[in-house]
Amino acid sequence: METQYVGKRVPRVDALDKVTGQAMYSVDVELPGMLYGATLRSPLAHAKIVEIDTSAALTVPGVRAVVTGKEFPFTFGHMIKDQPFLSIHKVRYVGEPVAAVAAETEAAAQEAVEKIRVEYEELPAVFDPRKAALDGAPIIHEDLGKYDHGNVYELVPGTNISTVMKYSRGDVEVGFSEADEVFEDEFYIHPVAHTPMETHAAVVQYTPSGKMLTVWSSADAPCQRAKDLAKVLSLSFNQVRFISTYSGGGFGGKGAIVAEGIGVALAHFTKGRPVKVIYSRQEELTASQVRLEAYLKLKTGVKKDGTLTAREAEIIWDNGAYSSKGPEVARRGTLTIFGPYRTPHLTLLSRLVYTNKQPSGAYRGFGTTQVTWACEAQIDIIAGKLGIDPVEVRLRNFYADGDPYINEQIMHTAGLRETLEKASQEIGWGQKKPKTTGTKVRGKGIATTIKGTNTPTDSYCFIKVNVDGSVTVLTSSVEIGAGQKTVLAQIAADTIGVPLASIHIPNPDTCSTPFDFGVTSSRTTYHMGNAICLAGQKVRRQILETAGEILKTDPERLTLREGEIIDRDAENQMTLKELMAKKYGGKGGAIQGEGYFTPAGSSLIKAKPGIEWMSSIFWMWATHAAEVEVDTETGVVKVLKIAAAHDVGRAINPIGCEQQIEGSVIMGLSNTLFEEFKMEKGRIMNDTLADYKVATTLDLPEIVPIIVESHHSEGPFGAKGVGEPALAPTAPAIANAIYDAVGIRFKSLPITREKVLAAIRNRKP
């Protein structure tokens, strides 16, 4: 199908709002009578609350409400309902919200917070998930066995193990006996902060008369959050209304109730007045959520020619003090630890463990980043030991079309090889190294990844063709910054046959926009894109039928393009605007259509009964190739270039794909080389952006985004997704390049300058 917009470098539809300062973010929401919230946070990692005295806080002028877990004794949790809005009886991490204040001004709220007195009885705390998993560790959730939880999660009450997952395929004993060499390695990946430039923020209003709870926020899945809140507060879904704003960056961090929770608690005590809660940067870094840290053991059997025969994985994930999306990150992330490689015999054990630290949650890649780190570093180790080119080892084991995935889903792998070929070609793989001059040594590294999308999940949309021919697309897909609106508008414009400029996609409002699973799992283009195709085809058909009536011709002879209705023989013509005016101009009216998409039932996701959930309706493949320069005197690693090739199915908007890829690469570089929490007794010491360093323009390498288009047979215009996998291969590609440069293998992240220098100094001569 010929397209006007799909596949073109269309400028983003939200860009004008953003370059003129008109875009409204949650921090910008201002309502009449609005109060300001502030939060008292726990100074201890694990303690019993003996007493809270709020009397002095209540006397501060301007204070309208002081709330603790006593007044608002509710808990929430999308997967495991383990998290209090405000501490109940005990605190479990430094930074946990203990009490909150709503006041006429931020200053008054802050002053009152400082006047709240809390008496604690300190308890032993545990920060290392490996230790927390042992018998005898201090128990963080005594009531784990009583918590409501999703029935797919296997909890281990009486321990700190929040969830456990085991899986095996084939017979690893047989597989290892067939191997010529067996590799056993341990890897560690550290927690990092999402660091969106807009911290978590929300405005919440509760009107007691109508029992209506309204939340203005940039949560990435407003329908899910409304569902969660309705359940825990015993409201119905239509009494909880999420109004989405633009988002100043999420990266997974806005996939949970964070600032919203403080606002919800306060709003119940402010007699209908809305409350605004904005996290400070310190709160964002220490008390929102982080990427799950993980300890990963990988045992791999290989034949001399590099063929993998068996793999065994054991992962311990750090859940932090409460389960945000940790259970699902651990469940899904774990599965792809074997990479895009045929693995006939495998077994895995994953445990998600509570610790007395800030909660962990979704982070761009949803676990894939952690497991890819281990898998791709080990593949390099294997290649080195066997003396086979790392590209060769990968190619030898890559899935091919028709191969079974670990749950026997039949793989559709188009695009995988091409990403490897193109990225390695772009980096000049195999070319002779330049001569080392002085202390600077160069090296190249490569890493691939496999990422699926949560399957099946649903998206609904609603399209209105208005009386003047303009089009409104109603969806609950939030513009989290990744270009959702633009891609969806392009799909709508081409499906219906109208100009892009005639389409408006308002921000979601769960009261009026239809259900969507959420902007997560790189799913929006595919799922909401398909829903829009379905709705768009419906309205297009109605438009042409109406035109047929008016023009007294067979609608089959008519076509709609760029808002013009044209007869096959070009005898009759009219614009959509004229059509709508003729039909509805007098009394008004609209042409409407709805779309519902689910991949459930697709033959592509068939698998072994009972474990179809491991299937993915589409697989995203990527390869990153890095070139670095290591200064052996200072330990500074300079990333010179990263070629990042991604199979996106079809690039609905190549600019958008490049933005995702380039943005992920610099984020990955930053995570890998600079970012690290410094902790003392559970307290994060580097809680400012001066001390928690993220990459700036000065750290930017040459990034070459390479888009591979494999055309998914069921995707909208052939599209798949790109947002998450783009982060995963960056870290191992850099580490593999460092190894190539100086022969030092880092198995633990981050790879800071100090670590590199120490390793170089300790190197045996």
Binding site: V19, Q22, T696, L698
Partner: protein
């Protein structure tokens, strides 16, 4: 204890009473409702609050409102004249330099301060001038390209 200040913001004059500790950022966002200027940290570490004070880029979270007395302030809302976008705004749209957009106002204003001083700024100069503004979406490549496109036009003409 309030102090009266007189300043011009985006060409409009304001006489206002402020407390001595009010920052320019608070004045702009809360009193004047110019929310295009963002707060990413309030400590001078992220750069999202950059505005132009007499043409120079300043972290508005670090400047007291009373120090803005008598000065000319430009915020992102004041950059386009009537319907016409500033060339930097147009270039940011065209080159795809905008993702979540939270850093965009500060990036554009920092670039404007640079180009007003040094219209043909090189890529290296642009990199350095923008290094005080963080962009977690990682739009850096395209931001630099957008600014360089504008500075190149000067160079080429």
């Amino acid at each position: 204890m309030n102090v009266t200040i007189d300043l011009t913001v985006n060409g409009e004059r304001h006489r206002l009473e402020v407390t001595p500790w009010t920052t320019l950022l608070e004045l702009l966002r809360e009193t004047l409702h110019l929310t295009g200027t963002k707060e990413g940290c309030g400590l001078g570490e992220c750069g999202t609050c950059v505005v132009l004070v007499d043409g120079s880029s300043v972290n508005s979270c670090l400047m007291l409102a009373l120090d803005a007395n008598g000065r000319q302030i430009t915020t992102i809302e004041g950059l386009a004249s009537n319907e016409e976008l500033h060339p930097l705004q147009a270039s940011f749209i065209e080159k795809g330099a905008v993702q979540c957009g939270f850093c965009t106002p500060a990036m554009i204003l920092s670039a404007k301060a640079l180009l007003d001083r040094n219209p043909g700024a090189s890529e290296e100069e642009i990199r350095r001038a923008l290094s005080g503004v963080l962009c977690r979406c990682g739009s850096y490549t395209k931001i630099i390209e957008a600014v360089r496109t504008v500075s190149k036009e000067v160079e080429d003409s």
